[in-house]
């Protein structure tokens, strides 16, 4: 069969001239816009005879007006139909006319539905207008694309989150104290432990105070700042008596802490849900990386010429990297056994080296914290001069920042020797950096814990070192406060003292150093880690320093403008672009890890560490958590027994078992769905092949019938074959309708 193949596998360009293909419903939905009525009639004809593609479904249903009412509820929205505007408006008018044919109840329902939809759209529009920094983010999107945009919308999210947490703390803890007619701060001394635990020497400076000491106090939260709303120690209130009721402040303090952790969790999960679903179900990126880059690679939002040029070069770079990656995969597959051994040994050695570096960093943080704490406990008059004093106070922050600056450089250097594929290299380095950042906070807290607590005994009557730390929660709050302030100072200082000079040098100086250093790139992963680090500190510190969320809100607010300024003035877009979809997911996952890390010290200190006896809302309790059982036991009726049953072991174990079962079920369900998706994909491929096979056979049958009838026209056989068939008996009803001129012909 000679020309069967040529009809079908049309190598030549030009409109498809197989009439059967054009009549298929799936083609109907793709028809190009033509004003000619031929198109319209083809569509209508095609749709009235065949079974439906979704775009024509409405018209078909329109033929049977009597059955209309049921179908009304299931119609696609007009705006989602792929038709020209005139056709859509005609459809709209037709729909409205049909709506008038309905009963008045259905009409009323439709009208309310319609007006509700309009109301919802107006509200969304209003909310969108009110969104913070809309204009700035629009400008950034146009200049740098959607990857960097996701960083800034992440920053905006954190500002909102911190503000909400601050509102929570303010409304439930500070506001009652401020507006109380009179407060009752009865501190009942625990006779068993004696007075020494409750001794809290005043920290305000006495005598002639030199000016620079105020600055030290401001920067480290000591002195005049220590006994203010800023720190835990000020909230020495047991309950507040309002005219009608009494307000249990310690309980409120504890519940607000749990609430803000829970609220952050739910908000982050809600934000990441869409990206998570997409990543789990559709993470096919490694299987179609080229298609993704070609069809979804260009950012249609870019409006700036330089940005467009840079996007093109970055796409070019990405494609070249992908081709390179294919070559490397081939190389890896070709590795001999000896080479593999060598590589594995090398990787082991390098990983041990990384572990050693990490251990060294953690140890130095530990020592720095201990030294700083011992320094702070020493007498005031033994202090050296002002600058040294500040440095010793900030020593843990300085060491953490230095470690977090050096280790990423080291990691990027080491990973080059480990010979992984480029994509895996990026991910692995990122993982190591995340671990370093978050673990350094953990080490700091651990060293603080080792300094503060001591085993209960004759030398240690209070459970903590009351002579050095009369109010240890305030001290921890001060450390968190210092970390936040220092982080903010570093962000500002790096921008002013490193990035601006770099831009000046690279622009005006023509030496080799400038060329090698190059212009600053806005490295999204490092910037994201920076702000997640700050947010983790905020979450941990809010329990000890209730005003910390407000400070963080202001800090992130200013950081937005700093980063925007440095982006616009100093940076060029990255050559290795960070993709928007996976980046949103990555940010929120790292943030969740930070939240999980933040929960651990807070929960541990509430449940395990003896609370201070000399200050704070939990003065009269041994451990902070005790306020809850006490409050529960004061509840009326059978509620106390109910709550105690909830906290018993039997309930906890059965709850755990049920949760595990639910989790296994959901995992199995996800696996089953994935399998179904794969099967459907195979089916789709098979259907496509079946369709082509059938059409081939039909065309063959067509040809034989034409030839057997004796009509010859070798030159235009292809084009004439459809018209020729009209004059003969339709072989088995192949053409159910008179085939039109191909609707896709120009």
């Amino acid at each position: 069969m000679d020309s069967v193949d040529s009809v079908f596998y049309s190598e030549r360009l030009g409109p498809s001239n197989n009439p059967l293909l054009d009549q298929l419903p799936s083609y109907q939905s793709l028809l190009y816009r033509r004003k000619s009525s031929a198109t319209g009639s083809t569509k209508r004809r095609g749709s009235s005879r065949r079974h439906l593609s979704s775009s024509s479904s409405w018209k078909w249903k329109g033929d049977k007006v009597e059955e209309k009412p049921k179908a009304v509820a299931h119609q696609r929205l007009i705006c989602e139909l792929p038709k020209t505007m005139e056709e859509k408006r005609r459809d709209n008018v037709q729909r409205m006319e049909q709506a008038r044919d309905l009963s008045s109840w259905k009409q009323w329902r439709q009208n309310t539905h319609h007006s509700l939809k309009r109301l919802k759209e107006d509200c969304m529009e209003l909310l969108r207008r009110l969104k913070l920094w809309r204009g700035d983010i629009h400008v950034i999107e146009g200049m740098f694309g959607t990857g960097i945009l996701s960083y800034f919308s992440f920053l905006r999210f954190l500002v909102l989150l911190n503000f909400v947490i601050f509102l929570l703390m303010f409304c439930f803890i500070m506001l009652p104290i401020i507006i109380a007619p009179h407060t009752s701060g009865n501190a009942t001394f625990d006779l068993y432990n004696g007075r020494e635990c409750s001794n809290y020497p005043s920290t305000s400076r006495r005598g002639l105070v030199v000016f620079h000491q105020y600055i030290t106090d401001l920067l480290s939260g000591t002195g005049f700042l220590e006994e203010t709303y800023l720190f835990y120690g000020y909230y020495k209130v047991e309950s507040i008596y309002f005219p009608k009721f009494s307000y249990n402040l310690p309980l409120a303090y504890l519940l607000v802490t749990i609430t803000y952790l829970f609220l952050s969790l739910i908000w982050i999960v809600k934000r990441s849900a869409a990206g998570f679903k997409r990543n789990l179900v559709q993470d096919e990126d490694r299987f179609q990386s080229f298609c993704n880059k070609i069809f979804a690679g260009w950012d249609f939002c870019i409006t700036n010429e330089t940005a467009a040029r840079l996007k093109q070069s970055s796409l070019l770079y990405e494609l070249k990297t992908d081709l390179e990656e294919e070559r490397i995969k081939q190389k890896i597959a070709d590795r001999t056994r000896r080479e593999k051994c060598r590589i594995y040994v090398l990787r082991l050695v390098l990983n041990l080296f990384v572990v050693a570096v990490l251990a060294a960093c953690f140890f130095s943080i530990y020592r720095a914290t201990i030294y700083s704490q011992e320094f702070q406990s020493s007498q005031f008059d033994q202090r050296p001069n002002f600058i040294l004093e500040l440095i010793f106070e900030y020593l843990p922050s300085i060491v953490i920042t230095l470690a977090n600056f050096i280790t990423p450089l080291m990691f990027t250097l080491i990973i080059q020797f480990e010979d992984y594929s480029p994509a895996f290299e990026i991910r692995f380095t990122l993982m190591r950096c995340v671990f370093m950042r978050l673990a350094s906070i953990g080490v700091l807290l651990f060293s603080l814990w080792s300094q503060i607590t001591c085993d209960l005994g004759p030398k240690c009557p209070c459970g903590y070192k009351h002579s050095d730390y009369p109010c240890w929660e305030s001290r921890v709050g001060q450390e968190m406060y210092k970390l936040t302030i220092f982080d903010f100072i570093i962000i500002g200082a790096v921008t002013i003292f490193v990035e601006f000079p770099r831009k000046l040098i690279v622009t005006y100086c023509d030496c080799g150093l400038a060329k090698w250093w190059g212009q600053q790139e806005f490295a999204i992963p490092q910037n994201v880690l920076e702000i997640v680090y700050g947010q983790t500190i905020c979450w941990i510190g809010t329990f000890y320093c209730p005003l910390l969320p407000a400070i963080c809100t202001i800090k992130y607010f200013i950081v937005f403008y700093i980063k925007k300024m440095t982006l616009v003035k100093n940076c060029r877009p990255a050559t290795r672009p960070f993709r928007a979809s996976s980046s949103n997911f990555f940010f929120l996952v790292v943030l969740l890890i930070g939240l999980a890390l933040a929960c651990v010290p807070v929960i541990f200190s509430i449940a395990q560490i003896n609370s201070s006896r000399a200050c704070g809302p939990f003065m009269n309790y041994t451990k902070s958590w005790e306020v809850v059982p006490e409050a529960v036991s004061q509840l009326p009726g059978g509620l106390p027994t109910f709550f105690f049953a909830l906290s018993s072991e039997a309930f906890a174990v059965s709850f755990f078992v049920v949760t595990c079962l639910a989790m296994f079920y959901v995992i199995a369900l996800a696996g089953a769905h994935k399998r179904v998706v794969d099967q459907l994909r195979e089916q789709l491929a098979m259907e496509g092949r079946d369709k082509r096979f059938l059409i081939q056979k039909l065309c063959q049958a067509q040809r034989t019938s034409v030839r057997s009838a004796g009509v010859q026209s070798h030159a235009d056989r292809d084009r004439q074959s459809n018209r020729g068939a009209q004059n003969h008996d339709d072989p088995g009803g192949v053409f159910l309708a008179q085939p039109p001129v191909s609707a896709t012909h120009v």
Partner: protein
């Protein structure tokens, strides 16, 4: 409600709101943008649906489209004559499909039309090569272009005819996580 505007009747605005993803204010703003492309051609009064089309050259130089390598294809896909001359209806339709709120399926249909340079309802290898060259400004060597196109067809082609039909394309787009965020013009 607000100032009385005389550009469109209320019914026209309602119809536009139903047929696109824009609100009234945005439609009026779009009309303003359309008008400023050719103030002498585009009337301020659209109540009688004047039949005015702007040539493709004017539209393709809009700031939102100026830097887009596919700008002429975009405008051609939304025009009725296939040459890129857009009436206001087509103009609004174009930005509606490219807005944030359009669903993935609708965007996929038009993306397919845009990337199908020879309008034969298939994205064949030549179409892919043209797309790639527009994307990279022809800075890839011909062997690299060939290799990339072959790999792309290999990845997306389901029915084995060495070109992408709409079914192949739609299936591939549903697995491209970035498509919704990149196939989007903010106006």
């Amino acid at each position: 409600m607000g100032n009385k505007q005389t550009i469109f009747t209320d019914e026209q605005l309602d119809a536009y709101q139903d047929c696109t993803f824009f609100t009234r204010k945005e439609i009026l703003r779009l009309h303003g943008r359309y008008h400023e492309l050719a103030p002498h051609l585009v009337p301020m009064d659209y109540t009688h649906d004047p039949d005015v089309k702007l040539p493709s050259a004017l539209i393709v130089n809009m700031p939102e489209l100026k830097e887009n390598p596919f700008r002429s294809r975009i405008v051609e896909s939304f025009s009725e004559d296939g040459e890129g001359n857009l009436s206001f209806n087509d103009f609004v339709d174009m930005f509606s499909v490219l807005s944030e709120m359009a669903p993935r399926e609708l965007k996929a249909i038009y993306a397919f039309k845009i990337y199908d340079f020879n309008t034969d309802n298939f994205i064949c290898k030549e179409d892919l090569e043209k797309t790639l060259n527009k994307l990279t400004r022809e800075e890839l060597t011909p062997e690299e272009v060939n290799l990339v196109c072959e790999k792309a067809i290999e990845e997306a082609d389901l029915d084995g005819d060495s070109k992408l039909s709409f079914a192949d394309f739609e299936n591939m787009i549903s697995r491209a996580p970035d498509f919704l965020s990149t196939f989007h013009i903010r106006i």
